[in-house]
Symmetry: C2
DNA sequence: CCAAAAGTGTTATTAATACACCCATGC
DNA sequence: GCATGGGTGTATTAATAACACTTTTGG
């Protein structure tokens, strides 16, 4: 294949920005590297692209290696390709963000990789350009969460409205008006009240809702807006 | 460097979606390939990443090879990495969009590459996944143009308000109210009336404006919104 | 019985939209 | 003098933001 430039081939990596949410707020999962290079420093979970996988598949595999999770909402953030971004060797890295339910992941795997959840407004310095990747993916998350109900991916299948509100408040680092928030969420018409109540965080208990993906997909086709 | 995977190296390419605008509307610049592979088919302008350049630099170089232009507004659209996206060999391609002033490019170079401007709602089928790249970059352009005044990059340094309006109408494939449009543009406070008039498209003549980049940068820091 | 969180509507403000006529000039 | 495109303000409507009290129940 003489058209392809065999002299100029590169390692291609994927790096994952893994978001989670619990009662302490929005968090990302990062590694305290117990391997070279940059051993001892903090970094995102990453891995090299293999010949038998697409870049999306590669990102899913890397996420699975750390969390055990499959079928996770992931989104490409972009390609990072400065010459010296990785001082070890030239590597083109493609950043992906993942939104997971923080209650469900393989703790043994995470421990094995020496990974920890850190609150996203308290992230230590990361190796290479991983700081920028995180910044970009948070920006993307904020942009996207305002126009599409991707936040549900950060919650368990059943969740309460106060919980959902706290999630959005964490994402945007703001406080929202309870009544206006509930109004909008309910008007979206993609929430189903299960009738059950969650009594974990209050005596009275809050209704548990479910996200109705079918209704949402339908709305998408009709053209939905959903403003914050 | 034992940490890096010398078995799994890939060709990395950049492909450019080059937008232009004239009185016929919004256009992109594509090649009728007079080279293999897929000779005779239409494609985006692209090129392989070299060892001595970052991916952003690579995209700028590729754009320059076709148009002769430097210092062009470019934006990364994303990485495309399906295994079989290029049937010739495995290639990871990173798409970039470029907004140029269609009056200023090197016509000899464009001719040499067998490239042509086509109206963007009349684009022929393109090779590989280039159709998807175009679709994505148009979507990005629409998203971005509504919140940042990037449209100016598609116009000459001095332009009239009717011209600017036609540009936005072309981007969004809609018609806009003249008065509301002018109001918003002027309220943004980044347009300077040069006092000169352009008489090309009317007898009366329309004022020529200039985009004030300094004012814009300033607004950006103060946090600007700019809704359509 | 009271503390703590859940639930519920209405009004005020602001932003977006709709709309029609006069102006300047080249032919 | 008239056809062509350029320029201007106000009223309506829709969206967003502000706001306070009642309900439930475990301790």
């Amino acid at each position: 294949m003489g058209y392809y430039d065999s002299e100029n081939k590169f390692n291609v990596a994927v790096d994952c920005i893994i978001f989670g949410f619990d009662d302490e707020g929005l968090k990302i999962l990062i590694l305290k590297r117990n391997f070279e290079p940059a051993k001892g420093n903090w970094s995102l979970m990453g891995g090299f692209l293999q010949k038998d996988e697409s870049i999306d598949e590669s990102a899913a595999r890397v996420l699975k290696e750390l969390t055990g999770l499959t079928n996770v909402y992931m989104e490409q953030i972009g390609a990072f390709g400065e010459i010296e971004r990785d001082p070890g060797d030239r590597v083109i890295s493609i950043a992906y963000s993942a939104l997971i339910n923080i209650k469900e992941y393989d703790k043994a795997l995470v421990e094995k990789h020496n990974a920890f959840w850190v609150k996203y407004n308290n992230i230590p310095d990361l190796v290479f350009d991983h700081d920028e990747m995180v910044k970009r993916s948070l920006k993307e998350l904020r942009r996207k969460a305002a126009i599409q109900p991707i936040g549900f991916n950060l919650l368990p299948p059943k969740f309460t409205l106060p919980q959902l509100q706290r999630l959005y408040e964490a994402i945007y680092q703001t406080t929202l008006d309870k009544r206006n928030f509930r109004k909008k969420m309910i008007e979206m018409n993609v929430l189903e009240n299960t009738g059950e109540k969650d009594k974990e965080s209050s005596k009275r208990g809050a209704y548990l809702y479910r996200f109705n993906k079918e209704k949402y997909e339908q709305l998408l086709h009709e053209g939905l807006s959903f403003g914050l």
